[in-house]
Amino acid sequence: MTLHNIPQNTEQPNEGTVTILINSPPFSHIDGKEGVDLALVCAAFDQTVNLVFVDEGIFHLINTQDDDSFLDKLHDKQLKALEYYDISSVFVESESMEKYSINQSSLLETVDVVSQSDIKQFCNNSQHTVIF
């Protein structure tokens, strides 16, 4: 998979860019869902959104989530539809994947793998970073 939409390294933050960083797991916390909600609203308000999953947050992206084994609504359907809501920059941190032995083949196809230093760049280059 190729990397795309990585913001350029500029000294000034990109006006109108928000990085939403999700580091909490999908089912034990509601933070990730509420983070994605904010990402969707920011995109609707013409902000450029980087949606970044790190640490336990990467489990939101597992592509084998199963309706039968969980009572609540699953997260992957909403995440698969993100590009239709003008969020095309969805990233996952490679160090976190290594930490939990997750391969890219286990994750949603629309996600790009980036390094921790790339994510640092996103945060530095964004107008704001909000953490969930």
Binding site: N23, V41, Q47, K120, Q127, H128, V130, I131
Partner: protein
Amino acid sequence: MPASFTILVSGSPTQSQAHLSAIRFIHAATRMKHKIKTVFFYQEAVLVASRFNIRPADEFQLTQEWLHLASQHQFELQVCIAASNRRGIVSTEESSQSGLSGDTLEPGFCVTGLGQLAAALAKTSKKDLNFNLEAPQSTPQLATNFQFIQFK
């Protein structure tokens, strides 16, 4: 030059230090003649907007302190409607629309949509300052000229 701050509080009033940190920040900022534009409550933080919170009299009265600060420094206390409704914080209007027997929102707080926060993010400039002690290393901890702050 005085700055104007938009503050996002997302941490729980009982399980995090977010509210206490945010309040201390507002005390310090206003003492230095900076302005607070809006405080936006999202996630567990909305629980502070319940008018049914009863804390023992010798403990810090968080909800009252927010109301006091807001009237003293003339800023709005905005609560996300989706986050608050799913946690039982319901305005009079929402209560009657949903056929509930009563409302729970403290009247000093106003209910808004996430769009208000998105608009504030678009309007405020520069980096945020994050008071989350467990923030991953990839998050900038400090920056100059910030105007938007998250207390998690």
